[in-house]
Symmetry: C2
Subunit: 214 residues, 2 copies
DNA sequence: GTCTATATAGCGATAGAC
DNA sequence: GTCTATCGCTATATAGAC
């Protein structure tokens, strides 16, 4: 008899829904990379998010769904569309140094390393997750850099017989130190900031020594 | 009255001990790399070894002890002492190609990748495991190759201002494809045998283009 | 010394109260 | 829609028989 108008007019209420969902996703993004898939329980995620476990299950069907959602969120927020320009401006050495520093800063960040490690560790669903990460990240960056190299070759600033291969080599060299740090944090003394730039410069010099026109 | 001599003379019998321990270790070496630490149960290891679970626990205090023992065993059997000579013989291009092929064959093997992935994924005991692997593997190989490069520079076959850095760069380039395959098996079309040698040759050519005396 | 059977604990997922 | 309490399952590690 007494009208439930106040509730009915608001519809099936879900105003708080979204911010709780966001809190859950944030907790998952924080915990999964650190402790891995098996090492992160749904209870801990719920506690970190400040909600109950069943609230977690109301927003995400199961653990794997939440896991994939967390990874995808991290990926999309890690990869900017304009990491570096494809048209060389000014001296080629300076351009390469700028690009190398941007790329190195991206791949050597703690959050990037955690994400990387998590994808490496969890091959539970075949290579699907890795393929997604690969296409969204490394593949796109390599393609962009390859375009940059081709432009530099066209303008006579570089002399590269095989730009695609050279692009892969360049980025691979930059990421080398990161792979070592992932294996054994603390083994590589070059982890310090001043040594990081030294690493970047050594790669650029190696690259120029091979591909600078003579 | 009836003498238990046959048994008593043999002492507190442990003749079967060693071969069962070997079977357990073999099962652990096979299963841990494939399914990871959490994904490999002691039951499955016992079944694979053909013994009971309690026999496993009688030889190894707990799961972590067995895990570390399995990794150490794999490491020591994967790293030969004489991967390549430190004294260059014949044309430098051929020497580098031989070294590159040996190194690539080592790091790109399935068992090596599995081991690598396992160490990366499980940082449960801090960086100790990674440090052990690093010092036993990559560190030793890099040092050996650095000596090779210095000899080549001394004999005038190469012109390298910074041999330690160049050594790291060379090996890092070779391992690049492997890191990609670890991330996303199947994403890289170069996994095929014929493309593998193409990769090795492209790295050697890049290296020589930079460091061949002019 | 080895095996069968079990104690104990933690996690993923769910039922019912408000 | 959200929370408390719980089921079902699995895995580590152990107790008792041969």
């Amino acid at each position: 008899m007494n009208a439930p108008a106040a509730k009915a007019s608001a519809g099936p209420g879900r105003p708080k829904d979204l911010e709780k969902r966001a809190a859950i996703l944030e907790a998952a993004k924080k915990l999964f990379p650190v402790h891995g898939f098996d090492g992160t329980s749904m209870d801990v995620i719920a506690a970190e998010a400040g909600v109950s476990k069943l609230t977690v299950y109301s927003h995400f069907r199961d653990k794997e769904t939440l896991f994939v959602a967390a990874i995808e969120a991290r990926c999309s927020e890690l990869l900017p569309d304009d990491l570096f320009p494809t048209q060389p401006r000014g001296p080629i050495r300076e351009s390469l140094l700028r690009i190398a520093r941007s790329f190195y800063a991206l791949v050597s960040s703690e959050v990037s390393i955690s994400l990387h490690r998590m994808i490496l560790a969890d091959q539970r669903n075949g290579p699907e997750l890795g393929k997604m990460f690969w296409q969204a990240g490394p593949a796109r960056i390599t393609e962009t850099f390859e375009r940059f190299l081709r432009n530099a070759v066209a303008s006579g600033q570089l002399d590269i017989p095989d730009p695609p291969t050279a692009a892969r080599h360049f980025l691979c060299l930059l990421k080398g130190t990161v792979n070592m740090r992932m294996l054994c944090p603390g083994c590589i003394p070059e982890a310090a900031p001043e040594h990081a730039d030294e690493h970047v410069r050594s790669v650029v010099e190696f690259f120029l020594r091979a591909y600078l026109p003579r």
